[in-house]
Symmetry: C2
Subunit: 219 residues, 2 copies
């Protein structure tokens, strides 16, 4: 297959959302993993629900609200200062270990990020990981005020990069995002980092890898 551009999802794909566990542990010992899992689950649910209800708030707000829910669910007392401290971790999530080198090796193609994150969140995270120069564009759904997997979001990626969707490889570790991207018409690669099952949404990715290093070998 001919690939002229590669568009990456950010959260869970290039960057590890569970980076937040360490800081969560400081405030809530032995609860970090649980907080992080509920936090992530609710963050995603809220993006889908707000999109369907047409009540968009940006990813910073949604992520704060999801954290608020997670702490309540676990009956953990917190205040705004603690929650904001934890939320700030989203500005410096770690890239997965193989990511910087793999991106460097892929960059003869146009590389971009297309993410639910708000522009400030994405820019901080990319800068903090020293990856600014690798990407031709860092594209946020914020412009459209609706989240993935709404088709218009994937269309925004194509429009911004000025590429053709059939010649674009979309890479994500989120099965629901891969399903959306495939429905849109991208070539789709699912990064299955943790040996999970793909979602039953009626479509399949074109390619499955365990990490980005494998992709470098494949294309």
């Amino acid at each position: 297959m001919s690939i002229k551009a590669i568009i990456f999802d950010a959260y869970g794909t290039l960057f590890d959302v569970h980076t937040v566990i360490e800081k969560c542990e400081q405030f809530f010992p032995e609860k970090g993993r649980q907080i992080s899992e509920i936090w992530r689950q609710k963050q995603l649910e809220y993006t889908w629900l707000r999109s369907l209800m047409e009540r968009y708030e940006d990813f910073w707000t949604v992520t704060y609200e999801a954290l608020t829910f997670a702490l309540k669910e676990l009956e953990l007392e917190s205040n705004e200062e603690i929650r904001t401290t934890l939320l700030n971790e989203y500005l410096r999530l770690n890239p997965y270990p193989e990511v910087p080198k793999a991106l460097e090796e892929l960059k003869d193609r146009d590389l971009a990020i297309l993410s639910n994150g708000s522009p400030d969140m994405l820019n901080s995270m990319v800068e903090n990981a020293n990856l600014t120069d690798v990407f031709k564009d860092v594209i946020s759904v914020d412009e459209l005020k609706i989240y993935k997997p709404f088709m218009g979001v994937y269309q925004l990626g194509v429009a911004k990069l000025g590429v053709n969707k059939e010649e674009t490889l979309f890479i994500t570790s989120n099965p629901w995002d891969a399903s959306g991207a495939k429905t849109f018409g991208f070539q789709v690669c699912w990064i299955n980092r943790f040996n999970k099952h793909f979602d039953e949404l009626g479509v399949q990715p074109d390619m499955v890898i365990r990490n980005l290093e494998e992709l470098v070998d494949k294309i």
Copy 2:
């Protein structure tokens, strides 16, 4: 407040989705609760995701696909016959114990169901519970080919019943559904059967009860 009509959500609100545990246990001993929880979670996710992707399939299909995922996730071997047997449980979910009597006491108002369920699923379930005569209408999202909490679904309820949304009480045990109904403009009652926290979606229900019996006393 003046209430002329009451619209109920079905799954989790009037009917216990975890009725399926018993049959799950027959095929997969000691796994019933886990299967049922993942099944329900994925069922909801798939309704939201398919709605956002504009790839509607009816609730029967989505429920089957969610079950398929749940069994894979738990590494449980199954075949189509087993999955169909389990799926058929959705045609005879038990109403929560207080529901039949409470509905009887509320029926001087117009009562209706507004649900994600397909018409066949809803009709079988309502008939099986001997509740057919209680409802003026049993309304399915299937007509619109999109799921809750899309606003058009709540509008369908109003249109079908010929009522005014401000004089309609919408009752659900699902916080995301209560948030959608409130956004639409219904009076909203959240049945918090299991002492959970409400979702952080920027709206609150007008009333919170633990079961339908409490509602009879309140209105």
